[in-house]
């Protein structure tokens, strides 16, 4: 509301942000605290390749400039 939005919009943003944070951060913390890495059966080289590929994809998606932003589904979803 301080940013100039009405109560329900602020409430929506706040709830959605909390939910996403809980969905994304909580499993990560829990799995690392419960030593979930012991159940990884992939080889180290495979993990390195996975992380490198993922980092490359993040760089490609978020740091390189593209012309076709935003994707159509985001535009549609944002109107809810």
């Amino acid at each position: 509301m301080a940013a100039g939005y009405d109560f329900w919009t602020s409430c929506y943003h706040w709830s959605l942000g909390d939910a996403i944070a809980a969905l994304v951060i909580t499993p990560t913390l829990l799995y690392w605290c419960l030593k979930g890495w012991r159940e990884i059966d992939a080889h180290v080289t495979e993990l390195v390749a996975l992380i490198a590929g993922f980092a490359g994809s993040l760089y490609f998606t978020f740091l390189l400039p593209h012309s076709d932003y935003p994707p159509w589904f985001c535009t549609v979803l944002c109107h809810f």
Partner: protein
């Protein structure tokens, strides 16, 4: 579609690195997308407004939750598979142990039978023979006029001979020296003849060429037939039994059919005799097929591979 370039890597992580891999990559994805948004870069940075924030949040929800769910399912499936594999290994181990135990049990039973048969034949049989000779001598030593004593001694001699016959039969049943020295066909013929004589029934025995059967297979076939005949006479009350021994290449097959009262093969559980027959055959890679109906007799087929056992 550039936005989804990270999804294949998330799926890769779900299949190979499990939920921890997916959740870590999800966190990295969230961190990078938020930082990019704040710095005005990436697909959500058209304008830093409420739409961009909601877009990032929805993008993270759409990508991270399903992949994390898939990763958890894959992990659970893997755990179940591991559990099943361990259970299967344990089961196989126990099965092998029980097979070994059954093998040892049957071997020790054969050993014990052989020992008792030898004792019966060598000790009790010899003593009975000596008793018979002594009674004969006593009969000869008696004066001619003592007819009552003569008849008593003759009666005793007959009883001793009967006991001697029974001991010999029991000894042969426990361990057939005929099987050892003259082979399976002669031993089975003798077994059928002896059983028919003892129980006053008709046993028809037929066989084709069965040369070159290993001792182990012969003993198994003999014991199975012996048990089947015993069952047919004792439980089946059979008046007529057919025994057919057949060799087809590397397979020895024994058919035993009787005209007894039969039993319901689908309902009755195997008794000790049938279990023993099955175990003996299984030890040599063979099998037992029992067909029976109430009032319609019993057909037993025992098959033993000859090559494997040799």
């Amino acid at each position: 579609m550039v936005l989804y370039s990270a999804v294949p890597f998330l799926i890769w992580a779900a299949t190979r690195a499990g939920p921890i891999g997916v959740s870590t990559l999800n966190s990295l994805l969230a961190l990078v997308s938020i930082v990019a948004l704040v710095e005005g870069k990436g697909p959500f940075s058209a304008d830093y407004s409420q739409h961009s924030v909601v877009s990032v949040q929805l993008f993270l929800a759409v990508t991270s939750v399903p992949v994390l769910f898939v990763a958890i399912l894959i992990q659970q499936r893997r755990e179940v598979e591991n559990f099943l594999r361990e259970s299967q290994a344990n089961l196989n181990q126990h099965y092998e142990r029980s097979q070994l135990l059954a093998h040892k049990l049957i071997s020790s039973q054969e050993h014990e039978r052989r020992r008792i048969a030898r004792d019966l034949h060598d000790h009790l049989g010899q003593r009975l023979a000596l008793l018979s000779v002594a009674l004969d001598e006593a009969s000869l030593a008696l004066p001619a006029g003592m007819s009552t004593e003569h008849s008593v001694i003759r009666g005793l001699l007959e009883r001793v001979d009967e006991i001697h016959d029974d001991v010999r039969t029991l000894s042969h049943q426990l361990h057939s020296s005929t099987l050892q020295y003259l082979g399976l066909v002669v031993a089975l013929k003798g077994l059928c003849r002896e059983t028919a004589r003892q129980h006053h029934i008709v046993i028809d025995f037929q066989s084709n060429d069965t040369d070159g059967i290993p001792q182990e297979v012969s003993l198994c076939a003999f014991r199975v037939t012996q048990e089947a005949l015993n069952n047919a006479v004792t439980h089946g009350q059979a008046g007529q039994i057919g025994v057919r021994l057949q060799r087809k290449e590397d397979l020895l097959r024994i058919y035993i059919s009787d005209t007894g009262i039969g039993f319901d093969a689908g309902v009755s559980s195997d008794g000790l005799g049938l279990i023993s027959m099955r175990e003996r055959l299984r030890m040599l890679g063979g099998r037992l097929i029992v067909n029976s109906q109430r009032g319609k007799g019993t057909d037993i087929t025992a098959e033993v591979p000859i090559k494997e056992a040799a």
